[in-house]
Symmetry: C2
Subunit: 260 residues, 2 copies
């Protein structure tokens, strides 16, 4: 038993889609979420900057006494996970490995990946897929406008619809599409409409949620107290966070604290 | 006479719209342009970060021996101009003051401002307008998707059109609309269509270009050599810069150098 919270770190509001999936499979845990809204978006930043920001916020989560940490951001997973795992002595999970394991198990071979410019350019997904899955074919596409569009709350309007169509026009006939940025599940309905039923939309949040559940069970780390809290810390509170958070998490009363 | 180049600094590709206007009125000058494409967008960054980045790139322009500097970025003008003017002993112009002077002279009173989130939040435009123009009414709107959309090269498609309509829907019946981010002249056609002929679209690049021309003439700083060069330095060269630059400047051969 371990009553400490699970820490979740993201560059903004997108990681809430991951938090939502984790809460579905682990409803009795406590959560502390850090959204680096002041530095958002990570997608266009250098690797070194992303490593520095990730170190800072993981350090903060550790100081808040969490039992494990999820990097709920595609860009930060792709650019900084290996580095921070070397530095900190706490279990840290990213969103890439659990997804790759799933695709391997399901024997899916024609894989599309959409993500931020930084994530696509880092080839984090592409290299992992090619290393882990035999005969895989990877189609990748940077979609720099989707995350800012989600932060703006535009996830179901006609602008979002046309943007999805434009970005996906060259990715067809794939078995699965990885949503390589945690904002993208907000566009899942539009993406599904565009790609049709033969393509599986892979929500990386679901994959990492299952992995955490397994880890908690195997290591007997369940929370035993009947009090399930979600605390949210943001580096910039003057943003659309609450509006989007309510949409994603259906939270009525969100208590948000400002951090450096 | 002063044969040194005019330095132009921007957070990315948007400042090229300013460079274009300056070149129209001063075709015989040499230019050095720094685009901080690695840190783009400035719009969502803190004031302190923007000051640090501006100092660094202005220092670089000075080391390249320019005779004066234009901050061709709305966010950097709004957040950092006052600060860098205190530090460096070289003429530095931003895009706000020349525009305010023009509006004052034309006696325009109902003024709309569209800009990045950082610029609108800093109230740089709003405060200057209210201080300088009697009985002014200011309508401001943050448009966080427009600059990334311009960097993506989407300035005339249906996505851009619908985005403009959405952002401008509450700004009507104004005398003038200030394009408070230097990317926005790329959307001028769509904005004009939306607002109609009774609203003047104010391109801040044109305003600053006239100001520079006046300054150069008054101080007798004209370039006297028949060789008009434009050098471009970027902090990240793996971006859509060339594609967008060709669209804005109609440059056939752009020589781009990478800097830190």
């Amino acid at each position: 038993m371990d009553n400490r919270a699970i820490g979740v770190f993201d560059s903004g509001v997108g990681g809430l889609t991951v938090l939502k999936e984790i809460k579905k499979v682990l409803p009795n845990e406590n959560y502390i979420y850090i959204g680096d809204t002041a530095s958002f978006p990570y997608g266009s930043k250098s690797k070194q900057t992303i490593i520095e920001l990730s170190k800072k916020h993981i350090q903060k989560l550790i100081s808040l006494d969490v039992k494990m940490i999820v990097i709920a951001c595609g860009t930060a997973t792709s650019q900084a996970l290996d580095e921070v795992k070397k530095i900190f002595d706490i279990p840290i999970l990213g969103i890439i490995n659990p997804t790759i394991e799933y695709l391997k198990k399901e024997n899916l071979k024609r894989i599309g990946v959409i993500a931020t410019t930084g994530t696509i350019r880092s080839k984090g997904w592409q290299n992992s897929l090619q290393r882990e899955i035999n005969d895989v074919t990877v189609f990748s596409k940077a979609c720099p406008l989707l995350a800012p569009m989600a932060e703006e709350g535009w996830t179901e309007n006609e602008i979002a619809n046309l943007t999805i169509k434009e970005y996906l026009k060259d990715i067809k006939d794939i078995d699965a599409l990885i949503l390589g940025c945690t904002h993208y599940p907000l566009f899942e309905k539009l993406i599904k409409n565009e790609l049709g039923d033969n393509t599986e939309i892979v929500n990386t949040g679901k994959m990492v949620a299952n992995e955490i559940k397994k880890y908690i069970k195997q290591n007997n780390l369940q929370n035993a107290i009947e009090k399930n809290l979600t605390e949210i810390y943001l580096t910039d509170t003057e943003c659309n966070f609450i509006q989007v958070a309510q949409k994603i998490l259906n939270l009525e009363n969100i208590n948000i604290k400002k951090i450096e």
